[in-house]
């Protein structure tokens, strides 16, 4: 392909394999019966499980007749937190509501935000700019998503919630329109799909209510929404964030956000750097996946970014402790599904799209949505009615809440960039902030990331030095990824992927899953760290053997 011709990723991307994710037929006779199952042990699922367990406990203690309700949380990672990754600066509102008897010092946060700086970067400079009103983080806390999740997990287990780690949900069990539970993924298959010596069959878990708390780009959530025809007005769009944790010699005294370099103006995003402790920082780069340059490589841009003196001054002489990546749903208000509930099913958190881009917040929205779901489920269990009508109370509750109101106020900000580019989009964003979302009003329509055309750029080869900057292979090692090398591929690749599309995949994937060998696409599925970028514009991601993927510690 001559440089200058454009390619559309959607043309080479297989369709969402809905039939694979929705299983009809009766559950296995050996099924494990639960009352409520949460698919995904992140902040949304765990907050939901905790709130539900507490409501049931209180009800039983005051003479209610619910009795022993079995709640399960399924998590695909080997241990809670190992697939959790976020900046993060957390709004404590939801956790305070979930634990009214605890104080801020009891919560799993690293510390309050002490100072905040925003910069506009060029290749050689970092120009301090006033902190945009959408990004004020005073009163919030710096946290590690892993630590928050592990802490929530302990609280859930104390309340008798069954947490099953190493168990991904591979499909939803359905009876017509009703969701009756989930089926977990098989384990112990060889590369050719044959059963190995430690083969473990899938398990069916039946439940009266299944909560989809899968996180970003959840497979089952996508399949369910599409099969029910309740897609959002705008398609969901995503950003890819690549993050590192460094041990540093020089302490960082404030949270830092940057715009501009190393991103081209055609790409939406920015960087963050937060102090986790006097000698540890978390830093990362987040880029909207509709970027038009096919050779844009977020991991590589992050490596280059670290060489800028703004970051280098902290990282020199230090050591990279961890590396990881994850996508973030950015569609906001107009990308929320028309319905987030159905017969025996609810969708919460990132899986539903409860992330506010302009303020970079998602964790407390996730927890809050889990809590609303829990309250609806509790009422449903009391009435013995888990039908779509009963569970739609969740939609009403969350739609009327601050969660949806926050997203509505900023509904067009990200979309303005997609449609109008950096400068005009930026001006519009300012107007939106000043007018509290009133102007510009109506919905800006958007397209899927996969439909955004790409043109191959020139791209100069980046050679990592192995001390400050790292190759993808070395980076994946630092994610703790020790996935079985002979695991079968979990990725559904399109037919006859042309060379330039293979090249796009090579740059898109931060973990080096895709390589190009001449004209051929080579897939290294064991490298995958479940960021889901591939599912957004490339080969489809499907759940695989539990415990595969990264093993984040303080991400």
């Amino acid at each position: 392909m001559a440089s200058g011709a454009s390619l559309i990723p959607a043309r080479h991307q297989p369709e969402l394999p809905i039939a694979r994710f929705l299983t009809g037929g009766a559950p296995d006779p050996e099924h494990v019966p639960m009352d409520v199952v949460f698919v995904g042990g992140g902040p949304a699922g765990l907050a939901g499980a905790i709130e539900l367990a507490r409501l049931i406990k209180k009800d039983n203690e005051s003479g209610g007749s619910l009795g022993d309700i079995q709640i399960a949380v399924l998590e695909k990672a080997q241990a809670l937190g190992e697939h959790s990754l976020s900046g993060a600066v957390v709004n404590p509102r939801a956790i305070r509501e979930l634990f009214p008897d605890l104080t801020d010092k009891d919560f799993p946060f690293r510390g309050p935000v002490e100072g905040e700086r925003v910069y506009f970067m060029t290749g050689s400079q970092a120009l301090r700019i006033p902190t945009p009103p959408t990004m004020q983080n005073h009163g919030y806390f710096i946290a590690s998503a892993c630590e928050v999740v592990r802490w929530l997990g302990e609280r859930a287990e104390e309340l008798g919630v069954n947490i099953f780690t190493g168990f991904p949900a591979a499909s939803l069990l359905t009876e017509g329109e009703k969701v009756t539970g989930v089926r977990t993924a098989e384990a112990g298959l060889a590369k050719d799909g044959q059963r190995g010596p430690a083969y473990a069959a899938a398990t069916d878990i039946t439940a009266r209510v299944t909560v989809l708390s899968e996180g970003t780009r959840g497979s089952l959530s996508q399949a369910w929404v599409e099969s029910r025809g309740v897609q959002s007005e705008n398609p969901q769009i995503f950003a890819l964030g690549v993050k590192e944790i460094w041990e540093t010699k020089k302490p960082l005294d404030a949270i830092v956000h940057t715009l501009g370099w190393p991103l081209p103006t055609s790409a939406f995003g920015g960087s963050f750097m937060y102090p986790l402790s006097p000698n540890t920082v978390a830093l990362g780069l987040v880029v909207g996946m509709d970027y038009p340059d096919a050779s844009l490589d977020v991991h590589e841009l992050l490596q280059r970014m670290k060489q800028h003196k703004l970051f280098r001054q902290y990282l020199d002489g230090g050591e990279m402790l961890e590396w990881g990546a994850k996508t973030i749903p950015e569609g906001g208000y107009y990308a929320l599904p028309k319905q987030k509930s159905g017969d025996g099913v609810l969708i919460v958190g990132d899986a539903a799209g409860y992330v506010e881009v302009a303020s970079l917040k998602g964790i407390h929205y996730a927890m809050q949505s889990g809590m609303y779901a829990a309250r609806t489920i509790f009422d449903a269990l009391k009435k013995g009615d888990t039908s779509a009508a009963a569970l739609s109370a969740y939609d009403r509750a969350i739609d009327a809440s601050y969660v949806t109101e926050d997203l509505r106020k900023r509904r067009n900000m990200r979309l303005a960039f997609q449609k109008y580019g950096f400068y005009v989009g930026g001006a519009m964003a300012t107007l939106m902030t000043l007018t509290g979302g009133a102007f510009p009003g109506g919905k800006i329509s958007s397209h899927r990331d996969a439909d955004a055309p790409r043109i191959a750029g020139a791209g100069e080869r980046f050679v990592p030095d192995g001390k400050l900057t790292f190759s993808k292979l070395d980076a994946v090692y630092k994610s703790g990824n020790a996935t079985r090398d002979d695991i079968p591929s979990h990725l559904i690749v399109g037919q006859d992927v042309p060379a330039e599309v293979a090249e796009l995949y090579v740059h898109m994937c931060p973990a080096g899953v895709y390589e190009r060998d001449g004209e051929r696409l080579v897939v290294n599925p064991a490298n995958c760290i479940d960021c889901k970028a591939t599912d957004v514009i490339g080969p489809r991601w499907t759940p695989r053997e539990g415990g595969s993927g990264p093993r984040y510690r303080q991400m």
Binding site: A187, G188, P197, A198, I205, L321
Partner: protein, 250 residues
């Protein structure tokens, strides 16, 4: 058939280890723990024997602080029947003391077989199993990579350096398991649920005196920087000379 398996909770070896303030132990913050791989293979071996015999009991023991119970539960979720936790504030470095405490518990159990992993990657001594065997006066075969039982006798394969040894042994016996004997099964969801209800008793460990103690821990010295000896085939003679005289590996 009554089988015991002794298991240990060990940290994940991929971690970066830090020496704690007291200089004689490692900082556990941020470390992930799981059952020692060798012990998981030992549990698997016990379960396979019980399944083949169609009857029997597999009892899992572990010595250590309260967290050792998690490791016992993991073995129970694989299919073991009950667990015994020997509580101790810390797992001592002295394997003899550990063996003493285990033997005290095992001696009245009338076990036909007692399985251990060959070694654990943290303390790296590999002595607890054989010492327990001596204390109980059981036959002992270490580092087995093949096993067959028939009647009251067993046949085991052992890997040596560049050779294999085939032994026959009588019961009761202690067996320590090496890599290659089997692949440990994943606990099933049903197994995890069932394990919550299986009996797990906890009692204080009778360690006795320790004869070996850690005086200090240190990071290994950094490798001194290496050198490029030369280019192409021309550099070979110099490399060989250095390997012979300096590195003394040739």
């Amino acid at each position: 058939m009554k089988i015991a398996v002794c298991v240990k909770r060990v940290p994940d070896m991929d971690a970066r280890f830090r020496i704690s303030g007291d200089g004689t132990s490692l900082d556990e913050a941020g470390l992930k723990f799981d059952i020692n791989d060798f012990d998981a293979w030992a549990v698997e071996a016990a379960l396979q024997l019980k399944e083949k015999a169609g009857q029997g009991e597999v009892v899992v023991l572990s010595l250590g602080p309260a967290a050792a119970q998690e490791t016992i539960r993991k073995a129970l979720s694989m299919g073991a029947d009950r667990g015994i936790h020997l509580a101790a504030d810390r797992i001592p470095f002295d394997g003899f003391a550990i063996a003493r405490a285990l033997a005290a518990e095992l001696k009245d159990g009338a076990y036909d077989l007692i399985f251990f992993g060959k070694m654990s990657p943290d303390s790296s001594n590999g002595i607890v199993g054989p010492i327990v065997a001596e204390l109980l006066d059981y036959a002992c075969v270490t580092a087995i990579s093949g096993l067959e039982m028939a009647g009251g006798r067993g046949n085991a394969k052992r890997e040596l350096e560049g050779a294999q040894e085939f032994v026959e042994f009588t019961l009761p016996a202690v067996l320590t398991v090496d890599e290659g004997l089997n692949t440990a099964r994943y606990p099933s969801l049903k197994g995890i649920m069932a394990a919550k209800k299986k009996p797990l008793e906890s009692k204080p460990a009778q360690l006795g005196d320790t004869m070996v103690t850690i005086k200090s821990l240190a990071m290994p010295p950094d490798r001194p920087p290496g050198k490029i000896v030369g280019e192409g085939a021309a550099a070979v003679p110099e490399l060989v000379r250095l390997l012979q005289t300096e590195a003394k590996v040739l």
